[in-house]
Amino acid sequence: MAMNLEAREALSTLILAITKTGDLYLDPEQVKQVKSICKKSDVNVRTAYDLLMIQLKRKHAQIRYSSTQLIAELFQRSHVFRELLVADYPIFLQLTVGIHQHPLPPPVVFAEKTKKLAISLTNEWHAKYGPVYKQIALGYEFLRYHLKVDFTNLVPVTDEARSAEQKAQEELSRRIRQRKYEKAAVEIEEMSDDIQDNVRKMGSCFDILVPKLDDESALNAIFGAPNGSNNDKEQDTQDGDNENEDSKMDIDDSDIAEQEAAWQQYDPMGVHDNALGTNRYKLTINVNKDNPVEVLESEDNAEVFTTLRECYRLIVKKHWPKVTEWMDVLMKADHEPGEQRAEYDRLLKKVIDLKKSVADAKGKSEDLGVNMDTMYGPHEQDSDEDDGELEEVEVTTTNSIKNNLKSKGKQPVKNQQRPVLTKTKNSVFLMHGQDILEDDPTYAGGTYVTPVRAVARPDTSKAKDVGSTHAPEGEETREELLARAPLVPWDDDLAVWDKKDMAFNTSGLEYSHRFLGVGDGSNLVSQDTLDRMKMRTRIYNPELPKEIKACRFPMSNGRLCMRRDLIRCPYHGPVVPRDELGQIQLSPEDGGFVRPGEEELDDEQEAALIERAIAAAAAPSSSLSSSASSGRPASGKAKSKDTSTWEDIEDDVHLALGLEKIEVPRKRGQGVKKKKPAKPPSALVNLSKPVDSSRARLLRRVASKASKDSVTQDERIEKSSSSRDARLNRWQ
């Protein structure tokens, strides 16, 4: 067969391209092309093999890794390729695993990867071709025996091995399911009788406790016979609570008969009996959804309840989980048609029935008040299983919570919570930091001073009645005023805020200054001082936005810019709301930008915002910033909006700080020059680049010209000084 030059060319370029990308995974398109060329003739396969071996011998682990992957692809396909590779198998392992003292070239990461891949390949090829190709078996043995390679737990690398593993996995899970199914089938046969027995037992308990509708005598007991409720006129038909057996027990039969006769005389229609004047009324009985049948436990039926509880325990602890488990197993089991199928259907039906009856019984007993909480008896709440060491270790709060939970409905709920502090204090004078203190468990709430002063507006007179709730005509009430009063944290100024004048000596004793003598009479604090006392210090705390929006400018790589800036992205200008595609969302009215969820900011406001932020960041006390910002024209900013770069932000900052703008000398032709269309970069690590080792770094320091010069300088000085010394000591 003649060598096809074109095919050879194509193969060579393809293989070079594939192996030189340095990527972790091969380009499937290119691999496909290689395969299609190789498929045409065995000569091409030979060519591909030669080319691949050349690539494999390169001293670069990334190239070797890619080559190995491609070799694995072709090995799987072509017999000729297999023959060729098998003949050179020791060399292949030399180049990929590094046997025979041929360490793999750098980069280390890829060398390791290549090694792992080659070992996995050898493992899989050995499993498949080991009996036919002795060299692979020998290589496998060599790796196992001499390199102590562990061939267990290898990740399958070839498709075939992968699918085989998957199949094995499926087979395993299928077998497990089958085993579970068989076990469940046996269990169902064994336990279904028990369960049914239990359910039947519960059913009889229910029969005893709850009257049935078809039970004539019981119905009569409730509806037919007059009972104690006849005496009083209150009708309790709204909730059917009175249908219990116990309530009628205390009624004397003779008494009833007497009264019946008496009623019969003037109530022929039986209004009293039926509580209705006529039979044509429609009766609606609303059954309480939460508690449809309330059978209270008493001494008489205690035995029944005990039985019921036992049965319920059995159901909850054992039968219900079991039945659900069977259900699960049966649903998951594979059912092949045939005899198995019929058996399966039978079992499934049985389990469904069981589940239904168990659920039924469970529900009924819960209706009767036998539930998870009370299944160990109505009063002893602690289950013998639940409490153990754990309970004792835990703090009492859990206990109380549990009690709370358990005593739901039955027992009076104790108020376990700490009484909430009622706010008696005047909230206007909230203590500074009170909110923090309140969280502190050691804080007892402080001592309260009953408010003596009513809060009043500054213009109202201070002589206002404190206790009076009825304000004079035309004036607002205290409550109204309180409602309007601003809530401010406590500070010194609140002591004097409503004072027009203030005496500084209120003792009543007259005393004079030691040197200045008696003053001119008014011992009042001057107006100026009073004004100052009414001032309070506030620390401005600029609130930073909690969530900073992403820029979302559409970038050339198809993604959106992920930078998060407050106001302006250094690359894409002001941060404006954009949709999913990065298009600017325009507001309907003026075409400007809208920030969703925020108020619209006009340019002025935005400028002010920027200035404030910058000022807060740069110099908090700077008053310069505000003056500078006011003088700044808004129109100039609007222009720079579009062409914003780092320089814009820089300018903003510099302007805000009153500094000169920095003029960046632009390179000639910058901005006009276009970038060259970049070649798709290869991920190959450049090995020729010297590694930045500690030795190299040291050399850079030690072998630098300056350090060398200093050394020679020192040497020269030392030499000259020593010669001087020598001359000094020469006496003759």
């Binding site: 496909k32 498929k39 396909r77 297999r82 020791p90 009996p131 036919v132 025996y145 001499h146």
Partner: protein, 399 residues
Amino acid sequence: MNSGRTRCIPHNKCTRLLYQTEIGLVRPSTLQSHYLSKRLLDLTLDPSTTIQREHVSAVNTIDIEEAEGRYLLSGGGDGNIYIYDLEESQREERRVIKCMAGAEKTISGHKGGISRVNWYPFDNGMFTSSSFDSTIKVWDTNAMEVACTFDLENKVYSHAISSKATHGLIATASSDPRIRLCDLKTGAFTHSLPGHRGTVLSVEWSPRHEYLLASGSTDTTVRLWDIRKSSSCLCSLDMHNTNSPPLSEANVAHTRTVNGLAFTPDGLHLVSTGHDDKMRLWNLYTGQNTLTNYGTMIRNQFVYNLTPLISPISAGSSTYVFYPSNDRSILMYDLLDGSLVKRLTGSFGRITALAWRPRTQEIYSAGNDHDILAWGPKNVDRDSALQAMADQDTWSDSD
């Protein structure tokens, strides 16, 4: 009648040859040599034969006895000797040859690595081994016990017993320049042949003349000896074929250490190998270098005895020499014209010794990866299902 015969001569060469042998057109020996050379050319790693690994160190030497061609003797760097029965599970599809007997670090056994093992050519009941612990031991095969020990006080690199002679002398090659001959009959040294100036790495007896001995040494010379003479060295072979006297100091066989010698089975030629990565073929009739060029593939660098293997000579077909190159391959050359016929690759260790099993035309190789490998002619009928699977191309349609 005659034309009818010619018409039904089969076209297939093998069957035609069979047919021609049958009717007497060709001699049986022709058929034999034809098949031999065909099988030799088909030689490859035998995938169905595995020899169990016993040595825990490099296998230095192997030998197959000539009487039955059945038992393989192996000596390793660990000082152990094992015997394998090559006919074990011969009929089975996957042959696993297990060790039959072994001498593992016995008290009387070798204390150092074994350099060479040789079957006694006339009887399987005895074999000899030389070791780097400076002894040569004679073993009783049945008891796997040492029968006799010769202490040479020097590292022994090789030893040889003549397969033809009845004198029962063991020639030894040791780090002592003198070649000493041990007499099996008396258990004592009989000769001491002086002449070499360096470590002797190989000695071989001629299969044609029972008293002719060849030796190769680190002094780059190959010497031929007649042990009957008092001045026993016959000549020192000269690679340049100059007309210098036979024992001239200037005569060198290789430019560097000579570490392998092999007589052709007919005893007419001698093959020598040296660290100069060359193999030379000497005409023993003239004592001259035949100047056969075996190319540049040979790699040879270790101070070990490394003996090439020469296939049996049969008329009408070429003789092959197998060279265990240090690059983990066996080079198969045509002995007389020096062309490289085949390169047998697949071993993962450096091949240290080769042994020929004449009955099945198999080669066994010992490697320093502790393994012994079997190389056989490609067998077509074995494990056909697996073979078919492996022979199949599995290009997917989408490619």
